[in-house]
Subunit: 344 residues, 2 copies
């Protein structure tokens, strides 16, 4: 008799034989040769050689609750790796380690879990980070929505890198590395049957290899953020607020895919507040903006990079505005609530 089952049951989260079987044959099989294999309650990570004088440890955490679990361009596994890596990367950190904690709803097909964990492992391998420790919980049917994943990331911020959301200064330029709103639009299309045709793919990607060369070569980078929930409009509003400056965008310079634009027009949404999962917004000293733009455009994740606006004087401190093609200026306030829930 084999006790291996085709669906996840409460026994798989109970600390007994079923849980150890699941950890051995599914999680360890996917994540491979890591401190996980020692099966201690904590990963033990040598730091000698990884930390130089003045370096700081970066630590970030994110729970992923996206619905549906898979969508064009990614799934919750890839998202859980890329999202946390990006939160390290925008602090200027070199990512080192990830933790992975799973909350599974009883009844999830084992094959589906295996696919999502495999996708997570693949994303980590591609990004060059190791998943070093984890946790598995199973809750009764109806007590979670299939699968939630938490990842926590550890990285090292090299001495001298000092990015801060409050550092934007009048005259600085605002750069982004690609199209706006693709993740939110792709998830929405995957969720609702809107009768729309046309390819829409999430931009879900790990940005640290795009970001690091710019930080190494351009000393004038002031703020860097990835646009996730709240979209590009959300992070730029935060930067404007923290820096007490106005950030002024030029609408005709905003890269929006026609499919995303069409979806937004259909549903009355603003692309600037749609979620992204592979989009970084950088504020940089004006004299280095072109250099950073060229660096980004030379990277596969930055082919559509664009200077989209600038930081302006104290006329509207803390506000984000948009110069329309007709020359008008429109304020872009962060919505109180949300355009779309469960997108990450």
């Amino acid at each position: 008799m084999s006790l291996r089952q085709d669906t996840i049951t409460l026994a798989h989260g109970a600390g007994g034989g079923a849980m150890h079987e699941l950890i051995d044959t599914l999680f360890l099989a996917a994540f491979g040769d890591t401190p996980l294999l020692q099966k201690e309650d904590q990963a033990r990570l040598p730091l000698a050689g990884l930390l130089a004088k003045g370096d700081r440890l970066a630590l970030t955490t994110d729970s992923f609750v996206v619905s549906p679990l898979a969508f064009p361009g990614g799934d919750i596994g890839k998202l859980a790796v890329c999202g946390t890596l990006n939160d390290l990367a925008v602090g200027g950190a070199i990512p080192l380690y990830l933790t992975a904690a799973f909350i599974i709803e009883e009844g999830l097909p084992r094959a589906q879990l295996e696919r999502l964990v495999g996708s997570m492992a693949e994303a980590a391998r591609q990004a060059g980070v190791t998943i070093v420790t984890g946790d598995t919980k199973v809750v009764e049917r109806g007590m979670a929505d299939k699968l939630f994943i938490n990842t926590t990331g550890v990285g090292v911020i090299p001495a001298g890198v000092e990015l801060a959301i409050g550092s934007a200064r009048p005259g600085d330029k605002v750069l982004i590395n690609g199209h706006i709103g693709d993740h939110g639009a792709a998830v929405m299309l995957a969720r609702e049957d809107l009768g729309l045709v046309g390819e829409l793919t999430s931009d879900c990607a790990a940005l640290h290899l795009l970001i690091q060369p710019v930080l190494a070569q351009c000393s004038g980078v002031r703020c860097l953020r990835d646009a996730t929930r709240g979209g590009l409009g959300g992070v730029l509003n935060e930067m404007a607020g923290a820096s007490a400056v106005e950030i002024r965008l030029v609408e005709s310079d905003l890269p929006v895919r026609p499919q995303t634009q069409a979806l937004c027009e259909l549903l009355g949404l603003e692309p600037l507040f749609l979620a992204c999962e592979g989009l970084a917004a950088m504020v940089i000293a004006p004299e280095q903006a072109e250099q950073a733009l060229a660096l980004w455009r030379g990277h596969p994740l930055g082919r559509h990079a664009q200077i989209i606006g600038e930081v302006t004087g104290p006329a509207l401190p803390g506000r984000l505005s948009l110069i329309t093609p007709y020359g008008g200026q429109r304020l872009l306030d962060v919505p109180h609530g949300l355009q779309l829930p469960r997108i990450c």
Copy 2:
């Protein structure tokens, strides 16, 4: 008009104004003066002075899904701090930082969230660790069970501390610091209306201050684990398996509260496999067992510490056994599934 609401809504997880209001007035208010206040996507932690040569970083993660959210002796907030601190402590690590990620079901009363977060903050303060970064997600009603919390812990393992689950040797003694199964029994009583009277309180506690003096003074500590899911029987089985030894307990030496014993007899449960949340099991060289016992008994969390058995030769490698009061020997295999779900 005030937009502050008495219950948590999807807007509180959407990256907009409502989320920032919740973070400012609830999470930051509770967790206070930490890197959280800088509101960056990642905490930035100076390590100079915290790490000496040969020290290693310890990293551990745990999601907490306990039901009900509060029980005699604790709640999910206290549990989320203590559980992760204990996973650091049993690796010999000195805990430094915690992350905190919340998955909230739409409709959770704000006052309840505030209480649980307050309890979390209080547990962290008492333990001397800082919650340095966090995340908030809200899912639709019916898509989670009120509140799940993930905490990830970072600590430092001093050079020379080398605990491993496979290090138990024949002749070693097995110590625990208190009563068995109190957490599982207390949660079960809080959940079911069993008509039982009598005080039963979870043992939920942070054990690092109990553990560190023993590690500092006794070089013969081989393995150390906290007994959570799977109970004391679960961790001792793991130690026996990884060390390829038999661990033999003496039933009459096992500290079990009469209330826990009564509950177990009523429901046909084995106290050794009931969850604990403040119980450490230590395997130690025989010549240092009494010294360690005295150290533990001198600490408030170790008043009921006991030597409960020993590691024996290769007769039954990988097995945990119990010498009964009648002189018989009973094997204690880990159950495949679980005695009780959602206890941590």
